[in-house]
């Protein structure tokens, strides 16, 4: 099982180079990172995977961008919108992760979208940056939304991913600290381990249930 941070933003989006982020991530206990708008590579023992984050786009735009990036090997994630948009995105072949559920409407991620996410192998991202840097009502609302997502996850078993969305090495957190932060959402250690392996789960092609031998 690989311990993966599902979104970091290296220079020029952030203030840290991808090499430095990988170096720090290794010290903090990570095996791989998904770096937004950065080519893939391996730095030390940390594997950096290229990531594409589609935000503030309509459905047509999303379809076009996913089509373009489908064969690039990038981890494709889309920012959540309203309920109709989320259902459309989750049903789209090539999308790996739905992000920013905490910032969407209360009913934007419902049981229908959850079932679709489970069927299509699309992960829901838990962005810890709001829990780390947020204060007051913003953080309370995020915790409440993520608790609601976890209720649906236990019922439908769709994949989860964990991300710090770090723009700097100072925003990265150790694996143990992330486990502690996830305990605020009601996640226990096996849940956190499963979520850390979420990126691997959604990017590995599913094994066919029937194998032809000859």
């Amino acid at each position: 099982m690989k311990i993966t941070d599902a979104a970091v933003c290296p220079y020029p989006n952030g203030d840290s180079s991808v090499r430095r982020l990988a170096l720090e991530a290794e010290v903090l206990g990570f095996d791989s990172l998904v770096a937004i708008d950065t080519p893939s590579g391996r730095y030390g023992s940390v594997e950096v995977r290229s990531g594409l984050f589609i935000r503030n786009a309509g459905m047509k735009d999303v379809i076009a961008q996913v089509k373009r990036a489908k064969d690039s090997g990038a981890v494709i994630s889309v920012k959540a919108g309203d309920a109709g948009f989320n259902r459309g995105v989750v049903g789209l072949r090539g999308v790996h992760i739905l992000r920013g559920v905490h910032a969407a409407d209360r009913n934007a991620f419902d049981h229908v979208t959850a079932k679709m996410a489970a069927d299509n192998g699309v992960a829901i991202d838990i962005d810890l940056s709001i829990i780390i840097a947020g204060r007051g009502i913003a953080r309370q609302r995020a915790i409440q939304r993520y608790r609601d997502v976890l209720v649906l996850e236990r019922r439908f078993e769709f994949p989860l991913t964990l991300s710090t969305y770090a723009h700097s090495v100072l925003e990265l957190r150790a694996v143990r600290e992330i486990s502690g932060l996830c305990s605020l959402l009601g996640m226990d250690i096996p849940d956190v381990e499963r979520a850390f392996a979420g990126v691997e789960r959604v990017t590995t092609p599913p094994k066919p249930s029937v194998r032809v031998i000859s």
């Binding site: 220079y11 020029p12 430095r20 170096l23 780390i132 090495v169 100072l170 990265l172 957190r173 150790a174």
Partner: protein
Amino acid sequence: MTVRPPTLRDKRRYVLVRVDPPGTAIDQKELYYAVSDAVTSLWGDAVAAVIVQAVICAEGDYVVVRCRRGSERELAIALSTITRLCDIPVALRIIAASGTIDSLRDRMKTPAKASDETALTEECRFSGKECLVAHCDGQKVDVIEKGFKNTHRLFLTREDLEEP
């Protein structure tokens, strides 16, 4: 008032924390307020009263934070939510927890002063811009862009720097 005998005193734990980026000026009082704010906003007043957090000492890049025994986990989670100190972005990295400050002192690494002084005067180029090296530790290099505007700290490695 007489001092309580040791058996009647609260059991304490001391948490050793490293403040990143290295070389950040640590104001113990400001750090105390930051820790207190983080604990109170995350856990509320009731739990903060149980944790009884306090900043005991700050030596170089290291800080020792005290809490009641059994509440280290809560303190550690709260410490991971501290992102700024006097409006400077920082990260508090938890190194160890112990029952005595003395045992934590052994785990504090003293920075090599001479190499830091030479590093401060070093110039380099990154992404076509002139930069000053602010800190250098092995592969890690922190640089500050030269100039009056946008002088942010950038976190790089030696391999990222361009040949002059």
